[in-house]
């Protein structure tokens, strides 16, 4: 019990040591990152205010696009949740302000330009609008400033030391907002001044009036339209010899001179802009001596309906596109109800890169060659039909998928190969696009490798020598890798299986099995002088006649002779104990003593069945031998030891009483050996019941291993042969 407990404690201690070692080793990882869910949270007010400042700089430099791009990222900023409303306010306010800065600047520029043209009314209107925008911008700046102040409170700027980066960056933002505010105030003053000038100049100029009429009010692109009108003052005075501009969509088309009656007329060609309508106006700008005398005037806009022919272009492209090959692009112009064009010029683009220009019929096919180095994947083919008189331009596009064609492989190879040996392979590589020519092929089976090349028709042949290895019968993969030279063929990797039989190893394996299963056991038996498992099986033990009293005389003749009746000395006691033990053993084993059998021979004969009592009995036998054959007598200490041995043997033989009865008395051998197999079988069958012995298990394992490989070989060969 103690020994068992000690073993358990030792095992647990080792187990804990192993676990600790494993865990400590596992903990020795290098830190390259951190667990984001457990990461500490840290905000940077300095970065926030600096970012605000930089954004405001872009406002001052009139770059609204950059301002928008920067501030639209603010939702991704790492800020306390309490700052989100303030941040949103600042962002929306400053984005709007940046737009207004540009609007106000351009408004002021426009006003100046128009005012130079003596267009006072328009200038005054623009001026009013600009003032309104400035007021709006100032209001937004106030909102942005409030948002910054709130952010400062949340980020505890007030409590920061003077001169600290946080405080400095905070005040930088407020300073910039102030600067923008001042810029708007300046522009406000400028506008006020301009408006005053306009008002003054407008009052001193004589108003003019201009009219316009067109005929027809709808025309095809390129056709001529007749126009006419007159130019007078507000008081009815005609203004002859003045230049009048005819505008279309605000752009100048033609200019004419009024006649002495103040009338003007002319024709203009409808510009090929292919828009459904044009707004035509006539404009009088005072020039020469009229500057400072007359105000400019512009006629109301007249709508000219522009007619033209429209078409749609339907494109279809081939299913597959390959680098270095042509792809067919088919197109059809659909003019609807309009008269079709016999031919028109088209331009072909591949991914916005010009490819070809050609003249085509309403239905056409074009072969477009793709570059050998074109990227695989999606591309766009666009075709643009140029404008032609009344015919509007037309553009259409279609997507193509550029890929490489996977070659097909016809391979002739054996199903079973022998190792060591060689494999002859042949085959053909081809695809819908043609054979794979002059392509290098890598062929590999395990560690054996060879390179071949396809011919002009895609065929190839190769022979691979297979090196010996440690396998027996197993599937081997033939790996084939082809890198075609044609850009339209994709590289090919294929794997085929074949059964490899290593006939050398199979023979060696069978020889090893025979060696272990037959030769070695025979050698062992010869060496040990035993026949393992070949003797007769234990049978019912026939009862053996009880030994005659001569048994005791044969075993201890000297003791019987030397001992005086009633002699209880140490030697006598030892002999008595020995005698009692011998009787006990004879009763248990049903043995009979052999003639002239010595004490030691008897002890060795019964040793096998005594189990733990064997050694004590041998010791007791040794003591008796010394007592009988040596001149020294026994001492009390010897007697005490003899008594201990006697009791030990008595105790142990009482436990093994059943096992000891299994001895087959009729098959004892002269000398100290007995039937080991019978004894062990008997012991095993008694102690472990009728379970199989160890050697039976071993034979079973060997038999199963041989059977497994034989069946495997047979079945696989059957499968291959089909």
């Amino acid at each position: 019990m103690k020994a068992f407990r000690r073993r358990v404690i030792l095992a647990v201690a080792f187990l804990l040591a192993v676990m600790a070692l494993v865990a400590s080793q596992a903990a020795l990882a290098v830190e390259l990152h951190e667990d984001p869910d457990a990461a500490r949270t840290a905000f940077s007010g300095i970065s926030l205010f600096r970012y605000y400042s930089t954004s405001l700089d872009f406002v001052l430099s009139c770059n609204p696009a950059e301002v928008r791009a920067r501030l639209e990222k603010m939702p991704f900023a790492n800020l306390p949740q309490s700052l989100e409303p303030a941040t949103a306010d600042f962002v929306s306010s400053i984005i709007d302000v940046s737009g207004l800065v540009g609007d106000v600047d351009s408004a002021i520029e426009n006003i100046r330009q128009i005012e130079r043209q003596s267009r006072s009314d328009e200038a005054a209107q623009l001026g009013q609008e600009a003032v309104g925008k400035i007021s709006q911008a100032l209001s937004l700046l106030d909102s942005a400033e409030r948002a910054v102040v709130i952010s400062g409170k949340e980020l505890k700027v007030i409590g920061a030391p003077e001169g600290s980066e946080l405080k400095t960056s905070y005040y930088d933002v407020l300073t910039r907002i102030d600067r923008i505010r001042q810029a708007f105030e300046v522009e406000k003053d400028t506008l006020a001044t301009l408006n005053q000038e306009i008002a003054v100049s407008g009052k001193s100029l004589i108003s003019t009036r201009i009219t316009l009429g067109i005929d027809p009010d709808e025309a095809f692109v390129g056709d001529e339209v007749h126009f006419e009108g007159d130019l007078t003052t507000a008081g009815g005075e005609v203004l002859g010899g003045r230049q009048v501009l005819i505008l279309a969509g605000g752009l100048q088309l033609v200019n004419v001179i009024t006649d002495v009656g103040g009338k003007y007329r002319g024709t203009l060609a409808v510009h090929p802009e292919y828009v459904s309508e044009l707004i035509l106006q006539s404009l009088y700008l005072p020039g020469g001596e009229d500057v400072g005398v007359y105000a400019s005037s512009i006629s109301p806009g007249l709508v000219l309906k522009v007619l033209f022919y429209e078409a749609s272009l339907k494109l279809t492209v081939g299913d597959k596109a390959f680098p270095g090959r042509e792809i067919k692009v088919s197109g059809t112009f659909d003019y609807g109800g309009s008269p079709p064009l016999g031919s028109r010029i088209i331009e072909v683009y591949l991914d916005d890169v010009f490819a070809v220009r050609t003249s085509v019929q309403p239905t056409f096919d074009i072969d477009l060659k793709l570059d050998t180095g074109i990227d695989l994947g999606k591309h766009v083919v666009s075709i643009s039909g140029a404008a032609a008189g009344r015919y509007a331009p037309v553009v259409s596009s279609a997507g193509i998928e550029v890929s490489r064609e996977m070659p097909l492989l016809d391979l002739n190879m054996p199903g079973v190969v022998m190792i060591p040996g060689a494999v002859n392979l042949s085959g053909r590589l081809y695809s819908e696009l043609g054979p794979v020519e002059n392509a290098p092929i890598d062929l590999r089976i395990g560690n054996s490798w060879i390179q071949a090349k396809t011919m002009g028709d895609g065929t190839f042949a190769a022979r691979i020598n297979l090196r010996p290895d440690l396998g027996l019968v197993e599937w081997r993969d033939l790996q084939l890798s082809v890198t075609p030279r044609e850009p339209w063929h994709a590289p090919l990797k294929a794997t085929m299986r074949m059964l490899a039989v290593n006939w050398v190893n199979c023979g060696a394996f069978l020889a090893a099995l025979v060696f272990l299963g037959i030769y070695i056991p025979r050698r062992l038996r010869k060496k040990a002088g035993m026949r393992l498992g070949t003797g007769p099986k234990p049978s019912v033990i026939p009862p053996v006649p009880r030994a005659e009293p001569a048994v005791a005389d044969a075993v201890v003749p000297a003791a019987a002779q030397n001992a005086e009746p009633g002699d209880a000395g140490p030697g006598g006691r030892i002999l008595n104990w020995y005698r009692m033990i011998v009787r006990r053993i004879l009763n248990l084993t049903r043995l009979t003593l052999l003639p002239r059998q010595t004490l030691r021979e008897f002890a060795f004969e019964v040793k096998g069945v005594l189990g733990p009592a064997a050694q004590p009995f041998l010791d007791l036998t040794g003591m008796v031998e010394r007592l009988l054959y040596s001149r020294q007598g026994a001492t009390d200490a010897d007697a005490a030891r003899g008594q201990r041995l006697y009791r030990n043997i008595e105790q142990e033989t009482g436990r093994f009483q059943i096992a000891a009865r299994s001895i087959i008395a009729g098959e004892r051998v002269q000398g100290v050996q007995s039937e080991t197999g019978a004894i062990s079988d008997g012991l095993a069958s008694e102690m472990f019941g009728t379970a199989l012995t160890l050697k039976a298990w071993l034979w079973t394992v060997l038999f199963l291993a041989v059977t497994y490989y034989a069946v495997l070989l047979y079945v696989l060969l059957l499968l291959i042969s089909r």
């Binding site: 020994a3 073993r7 030792l10 095992a11 080792f14 187990l15 192993v18 676990m19 494993v22 865990a23 080793q25 596992a26 020795l28 990882a29 290098v30 390259l32 990152h33 667990d35 984001p36 869910d37 990461a39 500490r40 949270t41 940077s44 300095i46 970065s47 600096r50 970012y51 930089t54 990222k73 790492n78 990227d375 994947g377 890598d442 440690l470 396998g471 790996q479 890198t483 590289p491 990797k493 190893n505 394996f509 090893a512 099995l513 272990l516 056991p521 062992l524 060496k527 040990a528 035993m530 040793k607 096998g608 007995s674 080991t676 004894i679 062990s680 160890l694 050697k695 060997l702 291993a705």
Partner: protein
């Protein structure tokens, strides 16, 4: 049982328990495909179906329309670099992810001018929780078209030597690369590219300066998974993805696991089995003979 027997039993038990512990104890090493903890790649492997390759010599067996995710924390040798180059130039897609490792050796061998700066990239404003977890919100148009808006990085570095048109993703203007060599030295200010793509032969090399976007705790953050998937499937084309773990630093536990696995493979060979059967046979026979001699 006497002392030698007890000692033998305890030693055998310890070995068995030790082997079982090594076999079943979970790996916690960075970027290991079997690692389920916050710093492993188990989740990525599960979502993408990525297979693991444990040696760059396996590249020759991988189809060229595949993507290899390579994280080199061990210096690759000449033959391994040659395998990588052959794979890329043959049409494969290499996704090279590195920070403070040996990615520059791979780039140099492939003849590319791009380099990993191997300096920490931090962003004090646009970040997830703190400056070492910067956010990337600026992407090339092809990534924006995929709906990728935000990617979270984890202690990344930045790229260098790349022309602007080749940038796929870059940090914000508030990001910096602190120069640790001198406190007085000015910090480089962003934006810095963190992902870029190059053609090499018939294949592509995509470089990312933070492999940590793929770890279990980061993969589902914002658009990280979609970002990685797009890079691995260059152009949106479906590709088989392989994760090369051959150049990841293995701790002693992982080395033991690998060796135990190798031992298991070795013991599965026919001769090893035969040897074991023979040993058992010899042992049993000797025991039987010894028993006989005792009698």
């Amino acid at each position: 049982m006497k002392l030698p027997g007890t000692l033998f039993t305890v030693i055998v038990m310890t070995l068995v328990v030790g082997f079982l512990s090594i076999w079943f104890y979970p790996t916690v090493q960075d970027f290991m495909v079997a690692n389920r903890t916050w710093n492993g790649l188990k989740e990525y492997s599960r979502l993408s179906g990525a297979a693991e390759i444990t040696s760059l010599s396996d590249l020759s067996a991988i189809p060229l329309d595949s993507a290899i995710v390579f994280i080199p924390y061990i210096s690759p040798d000449e033959s391994e670099l040659a395998n990588v180059k052959r794979f890329v130039e043959g049409g494969g897609n290499l996704v090279l992810m590195d920070k403070y490792g040996f990615g520059n050796e791979v780039l140099s061998y492939l003849g590319l001018t791009a380099r990993f700066t191997n300096r920490p990239l931090v962003d004090p404003l646009f970040s997830f929780k703190n400056e070492s977890l910067p956010l990337v919100t600026d992407f090339a148009d092809e990534l924006k078209e995929q709906g990728i808006k935000v990617v979270v990085l984890n202690h990344p570095t930045a790229l260098d030597g790349i022309d602007r048109p080749q940038w796929l993703a870059w940090s914000s203007a508030t990001s910096v690369l602190p120069d640790n060599r001198s406190a007085a030295a000015e910090q480089d200010e962003g934006p810095f590219p963190v992902a870029a793509s190059f053609r090499s032969g018939k294949g592509t090399v995509t470089v990312v300066s933070d492999p940590s976007i793929m770890i279990n705790s980061m993969l589902q953050k914002e658009d990280n998974y979609r970002f990685v998937q797009y890079l691995a499937s260059r152009g949106g084309k479906e590709m088989s993805v392989f994760v090369a773990t051959s150049h990841l630093k293995a701790n002693p536990l992982d080395i033991s696991k690998t060796r135990l696995n190798d031992l298991r493979e070795l013991l599965r060979s026919p001769y090893a089995l035969l040897g074991i059967v023979g040993l058992i046979f010899v042992g049993v026979s000797r025991y039987t003979v010894w028993k006989g001699k005792i009698r």
